[in-house]
Symmetry: C2
């Protein structure tokens, strides 16, 4: 049976998941596109798949909908015709922090979903140990974050709605050094070496890291620049720091 | 007089500039937002400014429109109420290539406007000498590219609609080495040093650099990664390479 009506309960659920409050309540989110759906790891639970007839061979136990209806429920401009509804995952912060050799990435009010997704993508690429998002960051389970992470969201622990100042206390308890990227940092990224672990904080696209956070970090690092542009894109700045720290950890000792 | 109708000729011009063909024909483009408009350098010619009454003090010679009309003509979701229509600029490629100490960035089919803007932003931040976009790249004068470049587009020469293979011939004539970022490159970015100038090529978000281009480059460079993610975001990859090359040029000699 091909579903054509958006009053169908399954379709209603999918549509409701476009809103964060419903993703939070149901603890579910949407993964869209053929490549993204087919690369969901086994240790994540797919509740059901919704697709057009084009994908009926790989969607034998899910729901088939008309192309017209799929276009309506899709989060993308050019829908491929397949999406999965997946259960969110809870990670154990103590376990994640117990790994004493690596990079923890903290986003303090990074609001652009593309930036958050790109930071997750880079962080996973360099085997960072976890991502911590402040309350005001874009939702990791929003469609744009999931899409721009290119599947990385499945392979690195992400903690949401963190209070960054409390988180820093926790890092300090665990002897993890805290570094903030700041335009007026007193240390320069390319000269800065790390030994075993580090928490890297990146701030808001327009305003950087909040003052109460900057006040309690161990190091403020700037990325040297030589042009007229005042700052780098937040995801680029964070990626450069992850790359440099990863080199320190992997090659310099 | 406050303009309220979108049949007004000025408003029609602004609306028409949302399409590339009209930007090409009129050789004009739109810069939107207070910060962006106020930072347009003197050596770029602003044809006129359109704003709501809020900005009438700084828009004494331009056109004032109703908020409702501005919302209609705006390219953004949360319009600030000010935009400028600016003349495009033509650069002299021979002059740009004659500078023999620096990085030239070539985008081969980079389609996402945010990526193109971010690459321009990073390139200007590291004083790259010029950006070269293939025919299939996002239009540098499109609103998203201009916006995500954060003004960098005004401070670095950008060449559009380049044939990348012919461009490589030109680089070779000028003794500029050509490096392509490629997932199966045989050299590793962090170990790769440059001496005086280099052309850096970055490819399409999904497919990388086209084969006919890869066949004629001097070096294929991969960026070492340690996670499960298959690739980095195109703008991030390009930014990492610009950062490393810039370090080579500025510190290593």
């Amino acid at each position: 049976m091909i579903i054509t009506s958006n009053s169908n309960d399954i379709i209603k659920t999918v549509i409701s998941l476009k809103q964060k409050k419903n993703r939070d309540n149901l603890s579910l989110f949407i993964v869209e596109g053929y490549k993204q759906v087919s690369e969901i790891p086994q240790n994540w639970k797919t509740k059901f798949i919704v697709s057009t007839e084009k994908y009926k061979e790989i969607n034998k136990n899910g729901f088939i909908v008309s192309e017209r209806l799929f276009d309506k429920i899709s989060c993308t401009k050019t829908p491929q015709g397949i999406l999965a509804v997946v259960e969110k995952k809870k990670y154990d912060i103590e376990k994640v922090l117990s790994d004493n050799n690596g990079i923890f990435v903290v986003c303090d009010n990074v609001q652009d979903p593309g930036n958050v997704g790109t930071i997750i993508r880079t962080a996973e690429s360099y085997s960072c140990k976890g991502i911590f998002l402040s309350k005001t960051c874009a939702d990791v389970y929003g469609d744009k974050v999931v899409r721009s992470s290119m599947g990385a969201v499945f392979n690195i622990p992400v903690f949401q709605e963190c209070d960054v100042v409390s988180l820093i206390d926790l890092f300090k308890e665990k002897q993890i050094k805290i570094c903030a990227l700041s335009l007026d940092g007193d240390k320069v990224l390319s000269k800065f070496k790390i030994k075993n672990n580090i928490a890297l904080i990146v701030g808001n696209e327009a305003d950087g890291i909040s003052k109460d956070v900057l006040n309690v970090v161990d190091n403020k690092i700037k990325i040297e620049m030589f042009g007229k542009t005042q700052s780098l894109n937040a995801a680029v700045a964070c990626s450069l720091a992850i790359y440099e720290f990863s080199k320190s950890l992997n090659y310099d000792k």
